[in-house]
């Protein structure tokens, strides 16, 4: 696969890993936060930890749009299925996320019409081919995904579609990073910046992280070579005492972002004054809702939703794990009441969620290490 395989080339990966080893100070402990859940997933999928010296630690950030959705919002979305003509559409990522009365898949098992879509455009198409039904699209994602939802809504309006609505749960990344840095128990050296969000917002929005918060940030791609190179760049900054925003993912991320995408977002969405993030509380100006000019497509206005705040079970520590304060296995429910099969929180059910990633990989490794067995190199 072009533009994928080259970035998985073993010799280059080894060279880059060697450079990382060369750059790390054995006396120092490096805490790098990868903001984006996609990076968390990639780190585990490609086994990158095996290539790094032990004094580099990844702190998993809150960039998992499924994980940060409070349970109450899932309940709200699912409540819309009470009307029999509704077709509930969402990305596959949402299907196993537990609501108070079950996940979307469980609702489907009980008879609700719930369908997986790969694209909001597919949800709109469903509305066109099912004129006697109402198609509701449960929109999630950061700024990477919002423009696509936005463009879909613009099309819906242009086509005069009347049986389509969006339940908007798009969130924005900068306030989340700010909340992390404002956290008193946070000790981070640097950031691996979200690569695909940046194709939309560019690199400028991160400048305050360097200037005001004094942390280097490198906007990174998602292949093994991308992530390793980004670590090299961060280590160089730390070694040389520089604090900058750098763009490792230049082949895809324009420094100024995607103006057309930002225009679409501005046309269709506005910022909510505040929004609740699971485990992080209310963060101001951190989420999007449809503008009044698109009210006819706003599921929150079309449907009467319970809007009940559901707090996580006391023992669940999703919030602390999201903020990187706790490692997944330090949550009391981890691996016992909360497993990928029977998840309590979204961090365990989402493929990007740090708990799921940790459960599938670290958990075993830690168990093996405690038995005095190290995972063998092949």
């Amino acid at each position: 696969m072009r533009f994928v395989d080259e970035f998985r080339e073993p010799e280059l990966i080894n060279k880059t890993a060697q450079e990382i080893r060369r750059l790390t100070d054995p006396q120092r402990h490096y805490r790098l936060m990868e903001v984006c859940g996609g990076h968390t997933h990639a780190i585990y999928r490609f086994g990158l930890k095996d290539l790094l010296p032990p004094n580099i630690e990844f702190i998993h950030g809150p960039g998992c749009p499924v994980c940060v959705l409070p349970m109450g919002r899932i309940d709200d979305g699912l409540s819309m299925t009470e009307q029999p003509d509704v077709i509930f559409t969402a990305f596959g990522d949402m299907m196993r996320v537990p609501g108070t009365h079950g996940s979307p898949l469980e609702y489907k098992a009980r008879g609700a019409d719930i369908r997986i879509v790969y694209s909001p455009a597919d949800a709109l198409k469903l509305a066109q081919t099912n004129p006697d039904r109402h198609v509701m699209f449960f929109a999630i994602g950061f700024e990477t995904t919002a423009p696509s939802t936005g463009l879909t809504l613009m099309r819906a309006r242009a086509l005069g579609i009347r049986n389509f609505s969006v339940f908007c749960n798009h969130v924005t990344i900068i306030p989340a990073i700010r909340a992390i840095l404002d956290s008193p128990d946070m000790r981070l050296d640097a950031f691996i910046g979200p690569g695909h969000v940046s194709t939309v917002i560019g690199c400028r929005p991160y400048e305050w992280i360097a200037r005001q918060a004094g942390r280097p940030i490198v906007v990174s791609g998602f292949e093994p070579l991308d992530i390793l190179e980004s670590i090299v760049m961060l280590l160089r900054q730390l070694k040389e005492g520089r604090v900058e925003v750098e763009n490792q993912y230049k082949r895809v991320v324009p420094w100024e972002g995607n103006r057309a995408a930002l225009k679409v977002m501005a046309e269709v969405f506005q910022l909510r004054p505040y929004f609740e993030w699971r485990g992080m509380g209310f963060i101001s100006q951190s989420a999007l809702r449809l503008r009044d000019s698109y009210a006819e497509f706003d599921a929150e206005q079309r449907f009467r939703i319970p809007g009940i705040r559901v707090t996580d079970p006391k023992a669940a520590q999703c919030g602390e794990v999201l903020k990187g304060v706790l490692k997944p296995h330090q949550c009391k429910l981890f691996g016992k009441e909360c497993t990928p099969e029977l998840p309590v929180g979204a961090l365990m059910v989402s493929s990007e969620g740090s708990c799921a990633a940790y459960y599938n990989y670290e958990h075993r490794r830690a168990a093996l290490t405690s038995l005095g067995v190290t995972a063998p190199a092949l």
Partner: protein, 345 residues
């Protein structure tokens, strides 16, 4: 007095995941079916059951087929119904001889669709060298059977010299795979039409007995275990083996054959090829002194040219399947939890 079996299955309702072949399926079988139905000394759950009748050892298996859509590039439900059962017996070390089938048909099903599938079954039976000796038919109300469901039960004699069980697996044994993975599952996913993807991909459904016989001809004493990785994919099958034999499975990612279009679809949808169903492949654990000959025999046999040696069995990490990359990264791959779901994150 017989002890009252303890039911460990605590889910309050049955979900799609329970049929997906992964963890939930295993929980259902081990937690509900085995305690209530199984003999107290039942061993690990295999593809077939072995019975002894009048001194002859036989294998017997059953499977049901509920695929939607009925027809897809590379095959249809009728073929699956024959090859699926024949293959279950083949990987249990048996040559299928006789099948009996059941049809659950939906009222309103056009006869021509039924006829098509029955012809497909007849052709598949001829190709696989089995006789369909009988069956049963039930018709249910419109809307209750997705056109048709087919169940098939097969019985066969054990192949001389081949004896498979998880207990015989040893550290150092090699893992062979008969061909590229993921073709069937991706074909079905695309054939459902919901994801709007087009690809040159078709189901790999076929009888695997000829390949197994080719392998057995040179390596029979070395074949420790076999499985056809259907729902849940090779990851699920190998995880089950790892748990059953208490050893570790270590795979080399670059050795696992995957067709380009399957890979493309998986990358696009965020799916893991090792979790995707196959209908014409099998895994074999072979003792190291026989492994090269077994692989050569597979590659020389018709349909086996893409066979590969994908890893080996090790003492540690016990009960776990590890995948390593060319550049030295490793990860654990688990059993499938529910159905593979496309993701955007």
């Amino acid at each position: 007095m017989q002890p009252v079996p303890k039911l460990r299955f605590r889910d309050t309702q049955i979900e799609m995941a329970h049929g997906a072949g992964g963890k939930a399926s295993r929980r259902l079988v081990e937690g509900l079916f085995v305690p209530l139905l199984g003999a107290p000394s039942a061993g690990p759950l295999g593809d077939s059951a072995y019975v002894r009748m009048n001194g002859t050892r036989l294998a017997i298996t059953t499977d049901s087929f509920v695929v939607k859509p009925l027809r897809f590039p590379g095959g249809s439900i009728g073929e699956l119904a024959v090859y699926g059962t024949v293959n279950d017996l083949a990987v249990s070390g048996a040559r299928a001889e006789t099948l009996v089938v059941t049809f659950v048909l939906e009222a309103g099903l056009p006869t021509e669709i039924l006829e098509y599938e029955v012809r497909a079954m007849a052709a598949a039976a001829r190709r696989a060298g089995v006789v369909i000796a009988g069956g049963d038919t039930k018709v249910v109300e419109h809307g209750k059977a997705d056109y048709m469901y087919i169940g098939s039960c097969g019985i066969g004699r054990l192949i001389d010299g081949v004896e498979v069980s998880p207990e015989s697996v040893r550290p150092g044994d090699r893992i062979l795979l008969s061909g590229p993975i993921g073709d069937h599952g991706i074909t079905i996913l695309l054939a459902r039409g919901e994801l709007d993807l087009e690809a040159e991909v078709c189901s790999d459904t076929r009888p695997v007995l000829p390949l197994i016989e080719a392998m057995a001809a040179v390596a029979a004493p070395g074949i420790r275990w076999m499985r056809d990785p259907t729902r849940g994919g090779v990851a699920t099958s190998l995880n089950e083996l790892a748990l059953d034999c208490g050893l570790g499975i270590c795979l080399a990612e670059e050795q696992i054959p995957v067709h380009n279009s399957v890979r493309g679809a998986c990358e696009l949808l965020g799916l893991e090829p090792m979790h995707i169903a196959n209908e014409g492949q099998f895994l074999a654990i072979v003792a190291p002194e026989f492994a090269d000959a077994a692989l050569a025999a597979l590659r020389a046999a018709p349909g086996g040219q893409e066979a590969a040696m994908i890893g080996e069995v090790r003492e540690q990490p016990a009960g776990t399947v590890l995948v390593s990359t060319l550049y030295g990264g490793t990860r654990v791959i688990d059993m499938l939890v529910g159905d593979p779901l496309p993701r955007i994150c």
